[in-house]
């Protein structure tokens, strides 16, 4: 039983899976299950919440995929990742062409009525002619 198979099982259960059930279902021992869970947690693929079942403490394991994408969706607008990540140029947010391009791309992308027929892709800054 690999971590991938355990992940697939957790993924297929929207309400999550109890760790105390997981090792039985997957036909592995609880120690191996703990190791797999630790690996998946380390890779941020699952999250877990403490839960008590019949007075016995266990964990509810939840598939973490997509929750991060939802959380950080504002970093990615109109399918373009925000331009400041990894940028090493001198920063002038007022005149940054890349930032302007990103903001204007969002404005144009949301212009469903076509009110904005033409928008410049850059700002005239201090370094421009």
């Amino acid at each position: 039983m690999s971590a991938e198979e355990a992940l697939e099982y957790i993924k297929s259960h929207q309400e999550g899976v109890l760790q105390s059930d997981l090792w039985k279902v997957l036909n592995i021992d609880s120690r191996k299950c703990s190791r797999i869970v630790a690996k998946l947690m380390k890779e941020s693929l699952i999250t877990r919440e403490i839960e008590s079942i019949d007075g016995i403490r266990t964990y509810r394991l939840l598939y973490a995929d997509r929750t991060h994408s939802r959380r950080f969706k504002s970093l990615m607008a109109v399918d373009i990742f925000e331009p400041c990540a990894g940028c090493i140029e001198e920063c002038m947010p007022e005149h940054c062409a890349k930032l302007s391009e990103w903001i204007f791309a969002i404005v144009i992308g949301e212009d469903e009525e076509g009110e904005i027929s033409k928008i410049p892709l850059q700002d005239h800054g201090p370094a421009s002619p």
Binding site: E43, S44, S69, F72, K73, F81, E82, P93, I106, H124
Partner: protein, 165 residues
């Protein structure tokens, strides 16, 4: 490496290290691996592999351990990805972007803009006036440009960024 299947992580990594870098990341196993081995697996030059790994290291998305060969005395670098730091890295990017958008919002609110009718560029009133409302790039005229939608977009992005932090 299953952790980089997620869209937002892939987009972030792609922004940091490009297409080749992303391919390298995809081939980093859970266990440690050397840069030479990664170059072998991916067919990407050792220089690019090293540059990618150091970029990841700078952003705390990868770590290395040095191991000295007892016979030759050579140092080997063993690399590992740190997917547990991906969210922290994205949080830090979100904070940085937030500061920049706040500065940009002030600029948008405190200025009046004119734009080239051919779409060359946008100018603040003083610059447009100095240029006699003629575009210095294409010599067409500059016309008043409403920036309410730009302001609205920045405000919404700021709001969403604050909510994700």
């Amino acid at each position: 490496m299953a952790a980089v299947q997620e869209t937002i992580y892939r987009a972030y990594l792609n922004k940091l290290v490009g297409d080749e870098g992303l391919l390298i990341v995809e081939n980093i196993p859970s266990e440690e691996i050397t840069d030479e081995r990664l170059a072998e697996i991916t067919g990407i030059s050792l220089n690019t592999v090293r540059r990618t790994l150091y970029l990841l290291y700078e952003h705390r998305l990868a770590v290395y351990r040095r191991k000295r060969d007892p016979d030759s005395g050579w140092l080997t670098y063993l690399w590992q990805l740190c997917p547990e730091n991906f969210d922290k890295a994205l949080e830090s990017e979100a904070r940085r972007l937030l500061r920049k958008l706040e500065d940009r919002l002030c600029y948008e609110k405190n200025n009046i803009f004119y734009a080239c009718t051919e779409g060359c560029a946008r100018f603040v009133f003083d610059d447009a006036s100095d240029a006699n409302f003629i575009c210095p790039y294409c010599q067409n005229s500059l016309e008043y440009m409403e920036n309410a939608k730009v302001v609205e977009t920045i405000e919404r992005q700021i709001d969403e960024l604050r909510r994700c932090l």
